[in-house]
Symmetry: C2
Subunit: 213 residues, 2 copies
């Protein structure tokens, strides 16, 4: 019995455990061989389950990928929540980007981000899964950007949608570099990221000549 869900059907617990076991096995397989090259049989072998048992939980490889992305993004709303209440939106954007980067630098999720992107370029179903998650994040970030504009913290002449897209590109780019370049470190890149985001979002300063008059 667990504090968060005191009344729990033991069969539901068992099913959840089996699903987790399959997803963890699939992540190990995908990390080794990529999505495309990994068959359901390899996932069965890694999970130590028969195909019959596995197919009861996941009818296809896409269903497994979808469940992995869903599980991954379960934390996202909680991570992004502060954006919609923070007194300083820019500080909150930087803090949530740091949480995203730190979360994705765990060794077990390291290759998943790049693998998902590569597979999304090739497989419509996977692209749909990745883009649904991406849109959800984008909607929250865009609302935060608009809040920051209304509060005078973010340049109101920016296009909120394009600025959001750019902030997401920036964060993904930093993550890719941290994953690929051995010399790149979060503590080296974060000050650059922070300087860039602050300056990018800052309202145009009043021209000196104007201010002096």
């Amino acid at each position: 019995m667990n504090e968060l869900s005191p009344i729990r059907d033991p069969r539901a617990n068992r099913a959840e455990e089996q699903r987790r076991r399959i997803l963890d096995a699939a992540i190990r397989c995908f990390a080794r061989g990529g999505f495309h090259a990994t068959g359901m049989q390899a996932v069965c072998a890694e999970a130590g389950m028969s195909p019959g048992a596995l197919y009861r939980y996941f009818p296809s490889k896409e269903a497994i990928i979808e469940a992995i992305v869903e599980r991954d993004r379960a934390d996202i709303p909680a991570q992004l929540e502060p954006l919609l209440h923070a007194e300083n939106v820019v500080d909150a954007l930087i803090a949530s980007a740091r949480a995203f980067l730190v979360g994705n630098l765990r060794p077990e999720s390291l290759p998943m981000f790049l693998e998902l992107s590569a597979e999304a370029a090739r497989n419509e179903a996977v692209r749909g899964i990745v883009m649904r998650c991406d849109e959800e994040v984008g909607d929250i970030v865009a609302r935060a950007v608009q809040r920051g504009m209304a509060m005078g913290q973010i340049d109101p002449t920016l296009d909120a949608r394009e600025a959001t897209r750019f902030l997401m590109a920036l964060t993904d780019g930093v993550l890719t570099r941290l994953l690929l370049e051995p010399a790149a470190e979060l503590e080296g890149l974060m000050p650059m990221y922070e300087r860039s985001v602050r300056r990018f979002l800052a309202p145009e300063p009043a021209p000196a000549a104007e201010a002096a008059r």
Copy 2:
């Protein structure tokens, strides 16, 4: 006979043509199935060549990937050259980033960028190939950043190496987004990119209070 190489061994021409044919076939295979899942046999079939003929040109899949990256980066020094001579280094950095983005948005190289990144996270040999190219670009960009600092166009208090790493992360992030998000367009993201790079690199303005004294 061709104007650029008037004296040319016909056998050398033939070998170059065969190499090109193999690389083009390999790119099509990789785009469909990824590096990892694509065997040399599939490349042979796509190129319409026997394994014996193909292995004469490329002893392994890694050799093919290396040749593709080499061919891709043949244009890079010419693209980056202006950075080391431009009167305005920041303008030149933005122009070369645009050239890089436009070059990688050609449909035939579309999935290669993401695929290379995903495979680099998994395969030491591929990571080495990608990183060698990356270092070459990084060295030129870092020299340009230092030039811009010396010319008073770039904040001299920045760490040139970290700033370079960040500019490369930014550019890769924009490319990834252009490749993956259907609604993202170069003409929408470029103004964001440009604003970000200009503001990121700009020297700290003299504080208004100081300037007024």
